[in-house]
């Protein structure tokens, strides 16, 4: 057996540097066409204005009385958190598709970056973009539409909800990226992303409280982690114990915030390994049948 010429595995620092260079590259490419980028951001401004105006014309719901700023705080936090969670959900799929269609996937996979680093790197730039959009929503809402920065909230509690929520949603995102090769979902959207986004945008409590929905569709909200994430993060931010909880959560013998955190932790513990397995299996399948960079 031939003895190898010594090679130096990448240290943790070098792997983090590789991740950072992905973020820098993505952001540099994203902002290269300034007009397009500004136009994209205008879409976020448009959403901000629409919902802030709806709030201004009066949306007084008993379900959100616990939030000091009323509907404007409810909807703008919903918008901001939804942008963050959606980018975590769609990041892996979009990153993989971008590298597939730009013919970059093989040159990246042949580099020493491992598969977790590869997919994280491809998604990371999208998170930075999402953070900019979140800032637009919150700062714009504060400056022009009376959004009140949460004062009675607990930042630590907020992070306790945010971290498992992001992990759970990233798990679903990885499963979606796995569908690229498992189900040939190379056209623009994958079925996991489609199902989760459809449910979360309608019934997870982004734009209106879940309780205003007909009971016959409310059950859908319990399927997606966004429901627990939005509910839990609003409770943590606004200290709103009087905020009405979705009916099943309200019936639990614990505080709604505890229920939200527990469900998110379980969701994350299942979704991340399952999503990773599906993603890895999809990539292996593509390596086996030669579809990594080709449309067969």
């Amino acid at each position: 057996m031939t003895s190898p010429v010594p090679i130096r595995p990448l240290s943790t620092r070098q792997q983090l540097a590789a991740l950072w260079v992905f973020v820098k590259r993505d952001f540099s490419l994203l902002t290269r066409f300034k007009t397009s980028y500004v136009t994209d951001l205008m879409g976020t401004v448009q959403q901000l204005v629409i919902y802030a105006m709806i709030a201004r014309f009066g949306t007084s719901l008993p379900e959100i009385e616990g939030i000091p700023g009323g509907y404007v705080d409810f909807v703008l936090t919903g918008l901001a958190l939804n942008i963050l969670l959606t980018s975590a959900l769609t990041g892996p799929y979009l990153g993989l598709m971008e590298s597939f269609w730009s013919n970059r996937i093989e040159i990246l996979l042949a580099s020493p970056v491992r598969l977790p680093g590869f997919i994280t790197g491809l998604s990371a730039g999208k998170y930075l973009d999402a953070l900019i959009q979140v800032a637009i929503v919150l700062v714009g809402g504060w400056l022009f539409f009376g959004f009140e920065w949460p004062s009675g909230g607990n930042l630590l509690l907020f992070l306790v909800v945010l971290v498992p929520a992001l992990v759970a949603v990233i798990g679903l995102g990885l499963a979606g990226a796995g569908m690229v090769y498992l189900l040939d979902a190379r056209g623009g959207q994958d079925p996991v992303q489609f199902a989760v986004l459809t449910i979360s945008s309608l019934v997870a409590g982004v734009y209106f409280p879940i309780q205003v929905l007909p009971r016959s569709v409310q059950w859908l909200c319990y399927l997606v982690p966004q429901t627990y994430a939005l509910d839990g993060m609003r409770r943590a931010l606004f200290g709103a114990e009087s905020l009405a909880a979705p009916s099943v959560i309200a019936q639990m013998p614990f505080s709604p915030l505890v229920v939200d955190v527990c469900v998110l932790v379980v969701y994350a513990a299942v979704a991340l390994p399952l999503g990773w397995l599906l993603f890895r299996h999809g990539m292996e399948l593509a390596r086996t049948d030669g579809r990594l960079s080709r449309w067969l």
Binding site: L10, R25, E106
Partner: protein
């Protein structure tokens, strides 16, 4: 015909020898790879937009046809050696490189790069090698400059900022690209783009380098510059690897040893001189004539003393063809070939005896031309 092939048995023999066995940069033993070439639903179409759902549901019940891309490849590359892999389009050269680069999973057989198993130790393999493909320049980010792209890849391979800066400057200067360092890839010429890919390969300096058709699509000047760089900076610095090409001149100029591949197999291997000597008992006749109909080529093949006869277009206007004839001797055969062509109304422009080339080795093994 002596075909030098390195079989698994030969290699096993070398391993028995132990300490005297050469150290290999690349080893492949019995590597097979097949692809699904056509998928067909066993039922008729006509489902409109729903067809993909049906296709997904019954995916694993579909009848599949398989195409064997690699049919048991045995190949070794010694340390410090750049092996030329010569073969026509579709021979399996790129598939082999993709298998060695861990981008394709091999079906059966084993392969090692720098002593690491390509299936079991992909991370070590990726740290050991670098692949430069002919169309890979499109994989560089068009929105970033040449320098930024090289910084990106340097970081992926763990180079520090100081190392990257030093190597990028040096490599771009060697390649004559320093003035284009701050330009974006789409503004470069085809030759400059190819040199940009080589800059990545040389900047990273892995023990093994795979070059897939590095001069394809380049004009003679561009091809010359790329060949110069490979000779001076890669081959000259002792980098091991495989260079695939269907240009005989590239293989002869750049590689000490050449393997000829056809239909997923290595059909001959050795130094260019050894390979040419292997067809030494054959004489080669190069005939330039008007396009030769297939039945006339068949008639030439059937002539006594003729071992092989193959045609290829010669010149760009399509009015002339090259008929390469392998024959026993150059005494009687030329007259017979001329008579056969004349009897079929084919006008012969010239007829010359030639030294066997690497293409003649390919013709001798496969009865076909390489292009």
């Amino acid at each position: 015909m002596v075909v030098k092939r390195e079989s698994a048995a030969d290699v096993a023999q070398k391993e028995v020898v132990g300490a005297t066995a050469p150290q290999y940069a690349v080893e492949a033993y019995g590597v097979r790879k097949r692809f699904i070439s056509r998928e067909g639903l066993p039922i008729g179409w006509g489902f409109g937009d729903a067809h993909w759902i049906i296709s997904s549901l019954i995916k694993y019940r579909k009848e599949r046809q398989w195409k064997e891309a690699l049919a048991g490849v045995d190949l070794t590359v010694r340390r410090g050696e750049m092996l030329g892999l010569l073969g026509p389009n579709g021979a399996g050269k790129t598939t082999l490189l993709r298998c060695l680069a861990t981008l394709l999973r091999i079906d059966t057989g084993v392969a090692y790069v720098n002593g690491y198993d390509v299936v079991r130790q992909p991370d070590e393999v990726k740290l050991s090698m670098n692949i430069v493909g002919s169309g890979q320049w499109s994989a560089f980010d068009w929105g970033l400059t040449v320098r930024q792209n090289l910084h990106f890849f340097g970081t992926l391979y763990g180079l520090s900022k100081a190392e990257r800066n030093e190597r990028i400057d040096k490599t771009l200067a060697w390649l004559g690209l320093h003035e284009r360092a701050n330009d974006r890839p789409p503004t470069l010429s085809a030759g400059e783009r190819q040199r940009m890919l080589l800059a990545k390969a040389f900047m990273i300096r892995t023990p093994v380098c795979f070059l897939d058709e590095p001069t394809v699509g380049l004009d003679p000047d561009g091809a010359y510059q790329v060949r110069e760089f490979i000779t001076r900076e890669l081959v000259g610095s002792g980098t091991s690897g495989i260079l695939t090409t269907h240009r005989m001149s590239d293989a002869e100029d750049l590689c000490a040893r050449v393997a000829i591949m056809d239909r997923g197999r290595i059909v001959a291997a050795g130094t260019p001189r050894e390979l040419k000597q292997s067809v030494g008992e054959r004489s080669v006749l190069e005939v330039r004539a008007e396009p030769v109909p297939r039945e006339v080529v068949e008639a030439v093949r059937r002539l006594s003393g003729v071992w092989a006869a193959v045609t290829a277009p010669a010149g760009e206007d399509g009015l002339e063809e090259s008929l390469r004839v392998h024959c026993e001797d150059l005494d009687a055969t030329p007259a017979r070939v001329r008579d056969t062509l004349a009897a079929s109304g084919v006008v012969v422009h010239s007829m010359n005896a030639e030294e066997p080339s690497l293409e003649d080795v390919f013709i001798a093994v496969t009865n076909r031309r390489i292009d």
